[in-house]
Symmetry: C2
Subunit: 453 residues, 2 copies
């Protein structure tokens, strides 16, 4: 099959056959399709689109070019959660041990931060010794032992994904819904899952600025997941404002530990329990193990509010009992991290300097721009602009006030944590501008905007 003809077909808006996508991707892996041909194909796909079937094939072939975790012999349901990325989004770090405490196996392959959004892997690396570069074999062994693992994407899984992402990044073809969906799902489908809950962020701090875009992306991913035998549910959730109070790696792990210890954080705690409840619904109500072999089928049930409440209650119980925290300790230990951070978070990197940001007037916080806070945290060193930059795990921002809260002039709105003061002034300005203060209470924000099955 001639590469040029495949590009031409997509250029002219045609629908590709599975064999054509396979020829392109396998040819690229083998070096017969060149970077520039893939770049032209990606631009044509960006502008002409890939339909659901093409996206499913694209994803499936991406998965099949790499290895996948085979967890079929583990007799528990395997369910993961993935977020499209936001500011202060540390949900995975609480959810993975929490669901594991509920006997769900969680084989989580997570990413690093880029631009104004943080990454789960960066956050966990704030824990001294914590290894995120587990091989597939190590992942599998750890899952057999502890039932939970959070590790970075290895070259073994969807090896083309990183190359194609780098190409898209260099050629202005990142913001394509089918390409984003297939990139995310190609990693998730290699995890050997039965179920997947997607947290598709929308709003100022999200990749998808509008709910319509978020919904398109969510539908594509749900379509791909279900077509691949993974029961997939997507929640479209708010990312106008940072999640929780901490933004930055050590600071966020500390917040996670507090939540696992039972502290409630408005918004964040609710999101954790809701996402967890959907994971538990899939694991406990929908996954059916066939008694004769390792195969799995699904029972379609109505997900009622009562059912979700029951699951939330169960998860809250596992936090209150300390089981979730124990699982976290077990996970940290199994991945080589120092579990003492639970008792003594100061074992993680701590910033040498702090600088409070004072409220300029009396009033009520109307909103806190998530992207502004995210960009400020990057300026302080907590994130990176380019994939090869290093980060400062100690740096970040604590939000002392969140929206709807009252402030008096001079109250601390936030506190900047930093070692490097090169961009301090710009970061301070950004944080100040991110807080909008008014006289009236702001309209209530809806955290979960839509659920897509």
């Amino acid at each position: 099959m001639e590469t040029r003809e495949i590009i031409r077909k997509k250029r002219d808006g045609g629908k590709l056959h599975r064999e054509e996508i396979e020829s392109l991707l396998r040819g690229y892996l083998q070096g017969m399709v060149r970077d520039y041909q893939m770049a032209a194909f990606l631009m044509a796909s960006f502008l002409k689109g890939l339909d659901d079937e093409e996206t499913i094939w694209f994803t499936d072939i991406m998965v099949s070019t790499g290895k996948r975790l085979d967890l079929s012999e583990i007799p528990n349901p395997k369910v993961d959660k993935h977020s499209t990325g936001g500011v202060g989004d540390k949900v995975s770090i609480v959810l993975a041990p929490l669901l594991s405490a509920a006997d769900v196996v969680v084989p989580m392959i997570a990413g690093r931060g880029l631009g104004h959004t943080g990454g789960t892997i960066d956050k966990l690396e704030a824990i001294p010794g914590f290894r995120t570069d587990l091989s597939l074999l190590e992942l599998r062994n750890t899952l057999w032992e502890t039932g939970v693992v959070i590790s970075a994407q290895s070259e073994e899984i969807a090896p083309l994904d990183r190359r194609i992402y780098e190409l898209r990044n260099a050629t202005a073809t990142v913001e394509s819904i089918p390409l984003i969906a297939s990139s995310i799902m190609s990693k998730k489908l290699a995890e050997g899952l039965n179920g997947l809950v997607l947290d598709v962020k929308t709003g100022k701090g999200a990749f998808m600025k509008t709910i319509e875009e978020a919904e398109q992306l969510a539908r594509k991913m749900v379509e791909i997941g279900n077509a691949s035998g993974v029961k997939t549910i997507a929640l479209i959730t708010d990312m106008d404002e940072p999640l929780g109070r901490a933004v930055g790696n050590s600071l966020e792990i500390r917040e996670c530990i507090n939540i696992l210890k039972g502290r409630e954080e408005p918004g964040l705690s609710d999101l954790i329990l809701t996402l967890g409840a959907y994971m538990l619904v899939i694991a406990e109500e929908m996954v059916v193990f066939n008694e004769n072999d390792d195969s799995v089928s699904f029972k379609d049930i109505e997900i009622t509010d009562e059912l979700l409440d029951a699951k939330r209650l169960k998860l809250q119980g596992l936090i209150d009992s300390g089981d979730a925290l124990s699982k976290f300790v077990e996970m940290v230990e199994s991945q080589g991290g120092n579990p003492e951070v639970v008792a003594n978070p100061a074992l993680m990197p701590v910033a040498k300097n702090i600088l409070p940001v004072e409220a300029p007037e009396d009033g009520i916080v109307q909103e806190i721009d998530a992207e502004g806070i995210g960009r400020a945290s990057v300026l302080l060193g907590a994130g990176r602009q380019r994939p090869d930059e290093s980060i400062d795990h100690a740096a970040g921002i604590i939000l002392n006030r969140k929206s709807s809260q009252e402030v008096k002039k001079g109250d601390f709105l936030a506190v900047l944590h930093y070692n490097d003061d090169r961009n301090l002034e710009a970061a301070l300005k950004l944080v100040r501008e991110s807080f909008r203060i008014g006289k009236e209470p702001p309209p209530e924000r809806e955290l979960i905007k839509k659920v897509i099955f």
Copy 2:
């Protein structure tokens, strides 16, 4: 300027600034913009278009990244002709010496054949010793001496053009009117011309299958040429049927020599004289040399049929007098070729075998599919499918009958000339299928369809 942002702008249908196009092309020349970024840009440009101004800038920057011929000290008008390519199109080889005999300087940089269309350079290389790899310095010296030269594009002229063409060829972005126009014009504008006549082919054997496409391309090129100080006129001409009777390199040179010796060939002779007449109108009526410096301005005149007839008559006179043939001999000698071919064309490669194609029935030739004949000649070895293939200068096809001519069953429609018989059967089949024979005389074909100023 960030390359990615330039690609993004074109991707989103924006209009680029001159500085952005310059940053992209100069960056590409310097290796800072990568092949895959250029490929993504070309696909975005293919799908979103480049407007006239962008195309003019693109072309101008392509020219300025290389060297250009400076012929300003030669006190004659410098006029060239360029064809977008067809089957049996040997017009340039007659026109260049013919116009030179009329004291017009013709600095012709020509191309090689690809696919079903032939190339002027390949044809001339059928003449033993004929050099087509002249440096800019050699071009200039030859033009001072003989006033005419036909040579291949060197790396000195528009050095990006070849790289970008190869990239387009590999990424299915060839058929873009602004990119075609700028590729052609970037070479022509480096020739130091005052005037240019473009022969934009349309029909079965042409790149532009419809007259609408041909007209779009013609207008773009006329726009670019005039904006760059080169008086440019485009003729849209028929390429449904091969030009003349010979297709193939030696065979076509032989036909050119016969025409220069005074033989008339229906269609072909007319096209040569008409294109030449427009060149002469520009050279003799429109170009005005400033007496104080080397600058040139243009007089806008109405090109009447009478004027064109007078120019045609003058050119016919230069053929009849033998002056054009003498110029051809001079040109061949000055480029190292053996001028004896004029007296003895068999000094050029001659095929070992010939095979006649007989008429299957009595009738009148309705049409001869130019693309079919072109593809058959490639199968016999006269052309190439890929730029790096070698060709057989002896191979080709002589058309014994052209459309509107009567045939009796068993008459020779054509004769195949070949050394290599590997694809003989396929070529024979193609030639047979290319002739359509009917009972009634076919409608008359219009050779020149439109003139674009």
